[in-house]
Subunit: 586 residues, 2 copies
């Protein structure tokens, strides 16, 4: 992992800048750390990756998709636990005032592993800094007390100073807060899933690693809701024999990084993965990465250790991909969020987010019934009495009864309910069903990282020339159209072919600048799968040569057949050789 | 424009909520004004509208597309003039503290037109409020002094309190700041255009009107760069006979709202539109809106009055669409931004954003040459001397010479250049070309408003049922698949057809709940153009009925021909009647 001038990260960043895939944003103002601009080729590649996510999840699996806002009212992230937990330890140099991620300093200067550093308290961090005599890398000064830094972007919504808003650090909460509406749209049937792809923000203390760690990035969060009493995945049979390369938490705790190649079925049987749906989505994620160009053997699923997991998760895996400069990097996270988020929002908002399930046969049982006495609530809670009664109705009666029994009061939000405020009774009733909070597994993809690994795995050289061998459905430009020479009638014919392909919906580029060899080289470097060349013969017989980016082979095709053949090629129905008759490359 | 219970705005908002097109975001927390969540149908419709923009501009015209960040360093919007100008007048009630857009109050309670209110100073606003005795609509209190409110969301980037960032109110600046890189990617040839579609933020004082005025919205900004000395549009002939419905500033100043229906050619000849490229994009915008479902006669282009224009624009038109509740609303803006933005960023960053143009024949001329004397600059500007010399090289020598002649100094950014700092001479040189700042015309589309008008113009009723008659390439779901009855073999066959269509890339929905009539009604209301029904005959002869959403006609089609026919139908190559043999609707 030592940095060399010619590692792929450097080569790709250079190529990306030069050909317009991406570059650091706002360069004319000295650049802004953690922000990139995707240029024309990059924007298209990124859209194609996002389209693949949609094809896989929305079109094929019927997952719902929503789009909500980046700016989010403070209440949402208070309830979700982010305001309390979404923090990183930071130290400030007492001399020059520069600020650093404390755990990153420990990794770099005290050789403490990321996993170890992540679980340290502020006190432990302070001690480790002192023990290892770490000073400011910029000026050598000593550090002030470590502190926690909230890594959400904060702002104010509207003209009132009190209305705090945050830039969302994940798209997931935009789904959870709309659960009731989405459940109705899903016709009140579990399981169902909801995807959101959009910009998200993390105010990193000191972003680095280019596309790998951005302050503004694109996330694809898929929240899949199911009944924890019927947690079976009905699609499991489609993937049960797929192999997952897993590095378990158990192995990691023993200091091993041995990867277990195990089928989905076996991993579930051995309880290495606690949820069938989670296992299903891990298999889908592996498939997606293969389709993006990352072979199975360059992927692994690493189970998170207890202190590495997000505050909401019971079991988490990171899908990692091996890259040249950075080793294994995370491209997706797979968290079993249980009912954590819906429960938080239900408690904070007072809105019932449970779903109702009818029993197959009604059961008779004695149940607690808690009835608020409005005549008592009124004088105590005044205008809020009705709200308190409503809140009471949203929590289980046995919970209220037990608290009143034990403590003499029941606390709900800011309201203290006393025994005399309610009538508690036990009634025999026929219970036809129950209300419960669905469980959630979440696959979450970092689109910029998918983009980066797609680029790195597409990167090849041949005869000292760079070729970006994108899968054909990922390539930013599908077809290059080239007049062989710049003779008027040939250029005109080429323009005509270009128009034809554009009108057929292809992403086609016209290029008549420089020798044909240079144009092919330029196209290979931009990852254009096919080149269509118009030459002297075209004027006679209306045929063109089609050139393959990877093999440099050429076939001869009649213009009138071109649209249909190309549609078949780009939808994966035929291969290059089936496009036409092989000819000697000119 | 009076509000009635059943105006289309109300009906559409109700339908949108119920069917999941969109709704006010964060409802469980009481809702957040100015933020919406697009549900599954809405997210797809919005994507289809954005896809249309890309097809029209990126695929067909070769416009480049980029994607940059929403959060933007403060410097960018200081340079662009937004920090100074992007403000709205606000008044605060002295009694209850509630804050209001002052111009909106004047419109509502003093019947001052929007155009008039927009040009008033704070003093004039104060006088108008007093004169009309306007008090707080909420509590009747009097107002404090009007003040200007910066309607950008402000935040801090990274851990240092000084690093102000803003949520971008437009996507345009993300293009301007990257001009040099984009010009290289465009192979240093003018004209060229760059599009960016993405979220943008305006911290409205009191948002209202649903999708029409949001705090977070999606903008599509297209910046088209050209040489002001060769401002001709080579694509003009494609649109010159198109009619544009224009309401000129001249007419408006005279109090008329008479629309002039005039061809592009004639509008340019009469100099009603000052730039050919601007006229071209106005014609494209009209075409786009027609394709989205808004007929030409429900569109107009209204020229902005001097005080209505943004601070960067010399001539601006708003493309407006007539809607039921709000009258004419803006869906796109067409501004001639000249060299304003690039000039601002060039001055603020000190980076040369000019392009070089070679003369056809070199000319010999006497030119000023300004050479910094580093021995003089050094002692004065110390470490910044080299930067000052570079800045000096980026401004025209004759400008420096003139200032030194006239004032005895030349001010560049914070640096004051004196006569003794430089050698000014006149030299005869052969000049082969010159550097200049390109001019810009900008069509800018509000995607949420395009979404709203698409929905309103698709909205129809027939036999008391709602049909959303979206153009077929805009419909969120393309095909519904229905087993006629819930018999096992028919359901199985229907699932098979559904899978076939999904694998062919169609957006297809399977629905087996309720009577077939109810399912058709549900599909019409969701705007699904075609329904495929599997019945008893299907089991015998592998044919299905295909039903048209708008005419309710049905044709019989063989399953094996279905994919190809549907591809042709959705790409607009054939009409419904050409799908198969008309049958009697069941």
């Amino acid at each position: 992992m030592t940095e060399t001038k010619t590692d792929k990260f450097t080569l790709i960043n250079e190529l990306a800048r030069r050909r317009g895939f991406f570059w650091q944003a706002y360069e004319i103002y000295g650049g802004a750390g953690g922000f990139v601009t995707y240029g024309p080729l990059g924007a298209k590649l990124k859209q194609n990756i996002e389209r693949k996510l949609r094809e896989l999840f929305v079109n094929k699996l019927g997952i719902l998709e929503i789009e909500s806002s980046v700016i989010t009212p403070g209440k949402v992230f208070e309830a979700s636990g982010h305001v309390g937990h979404f923090k990183e330890p930071m130290v400030e140099c007492a001399k020059c005032g520069k600020r650093f991620r404390a755990d990153h300093l420990l990794e770099e200067y005290a050789k403490i592993s990321a996993a170890e550093a992540e679980k340290m308290s502020l006190t432990e961090i302070k001690q480790a800094i002192e023990k290892n005599a770490i000073t400011c890398p910029d000026c050598g000064g000593t550090f002030n007390e470590p502190q926690q830094f909230l890594t959400m972007f904060e702002t104010t919504i509207g003209p009132y100073s009190g209305a705090t808003g945050y830039g969302r650090p994940e798209a997931a909460q935009g789904i959870f807060v709309e659960f009731n509406r989405l459940y109705t749209i899903a016709r009140e049937r579990l399981p169902f899933g909801v995807l959101q792809i959009g910009h998200a923000l993390r105010n990193e203390i000191s972003p680095r690693q280019g596309l790998i760690r951005l302050r503004e990035f694109t996330i694809a969060d898929l929240e899949f809701f199911f009944d924890p009493e019927t947690p079976n995945c009905h699609l499991l049979k489609d993937v049960e024999n797929e192999t997952l390369p897993i590095l378990t938490a158990e192995k990691r705790l023993k200091g091993s990084d041995e990867i277990l190649n195990i089928t989905v079925k076996e991993a579930l049987k051995q309880k290495l993965i606690s949820s069938e749906w989670q296992a299903f989505f891990m298999a889908m994620a592996k498939k997606l990465l293969i389709e993006i160009g990352v072979p199975a053997e360059k992927q692994r699923f690493i189970e998170k250790l207890p202190w590495e997991k997000a505050h909401y998760s019971t079991q988490s895996f990171d899908q990692e991909v091996l890259v040249d400069r950075w080793g294994w990097i995370e491209v997706s996270g797979h968290a079993y969020r249980t009912d954590y988020d819906l429960k938080c929002h239900m408690e904070a908002s007072g809105v019932d987010l449970r779903v109702y399930k009818e029993y197959e046969t009604p059961i008779e049982e004695e149940q607690f019934v808690v009835k608020p006495i409005m005549a008592k609530l009124g004088p105590v809670f005044k205008a809020e009495a009705a709200k308190v009664a409503q809140l009471l109705a949203s929590v289980p009666a046995e919970e209220v009864a037990a608290a009143l029994e034990k403590h003499g009061y029941y606390q709900i939000q800011n309201y203290k309910i006393l025994r005399e405020h309610v009538n508690v009774s036990r009634q025999k009733t026929v219970v036809r069903g129950k209300r419960f909070i669905p469980h959630v597994v979440e696959p979450s993809f970092g689109c910029d990282r998918l983009f980066y690994v797609a680029l790195e795995y597409a990167y090849h050289t041949k005869d000292d020339r760079v070729i970006l061998s994108f899968p054909r459905d990922l390539a930013p430009t599908q077809i290059g159209v080239y007049p062989l020479v710049s003779k008027d009638d040939i250029v005109e014919k080429a323009e005509e072919v270009h128009r034809l392909l554009v009108n057929e919906g292809f992403s086609a580029e016209f290029d008549d600048t420089g020798s044909i060899g240079r144009r092919y080289a330029r196209a290979d470097e931009a990852g254009i799968p096919l080149g269509v060349t118009i030459d002297y013969d075209t004027l006679n017989d209306d045929t063109v040569t089609v050139r393959d980016r990877d093999s440099w082979q050429q076939v001869r095709v009649s213009i009138k057949d071109l649209p249909e053949l190309l549609h078949k090629y780009f939808s994966g129905k035929i291969n290059f050789e089936e496009l036409g008759t092989l000819v000697q490359a000119k």
